[in-house]
Symmetry: C2
Subunit: 132 residues, 2 copies
Amino acid sequence: MERREDVIVGKHVYGSLYGVPREKATDEEYLRGVVVRAAESAGATVHAVNSWTIPGEKGGVSVIVLVLESHLALHTWPEYDYATFDIYTCGEHTDPWKAFELLLSELKPRKYTVHYVDRSQEKTVLEAQPRR
Amino acid sequence: MERREDVIVGKHVYGSLYGVPREKATDEEYLRGVVVRAAESAGATVHAVNSWTIPGEKGGVSVIVLVLESHLALHTWPEYDYATFDIYTCGEHTDPWKAFELLLSELKPRKYTVHYVDRSQEKTVLEAQPRR
């Protein structure tokens, strides 16, 4: 089999939002819309949208959007004014930072932390194994 | 409002699997079962299971399991013998490494990379902001 020249390029922006207004953190319909628009702003193609409201002190809203290029996830803990996000998109055409900017501008946290990780196939690992 | 003593504890194990047998990487039903069992082995409570098969050269199977403690995601690229996984669980009672071990023993990659990130609320950030 001919060696593939290309690799799967993956980009993952994740982090935490502190001081998210409670009326936003509890509004499942609103949050669905925010994550869908975040995916679109990253240049990803939305394939499926799922959301849930989980009761309890450590409950909250979860939104997971499957995009053709991987997924976005948002979990909120309204009792803690807290949320975490994952924006994981594959392909050169996507920019997860655009999605992050949309989350910030919509959810208006007082503080946030954000991290980036390259989720691309690692060529050194690929080269260590013969392809079938 | 009284200051909360506890914080949301989050643990995220993620990485890549290289050389996943193609018959496994294309079997949506099998992969659903694997990710559900991975979640359970981590001590997480499965709330919803979704999976999709996306056609095309860069297509594959995606499984996303919402657990009460956050989520697990698996994406496969059978044409590349490749998969990526995210095991993100909250709470002291969960151990995402147990889920990782199950993924390895089931999917039998020839190589893998794995990373861990602490997704807990950061006290230094919390202390920088007065609670409402």
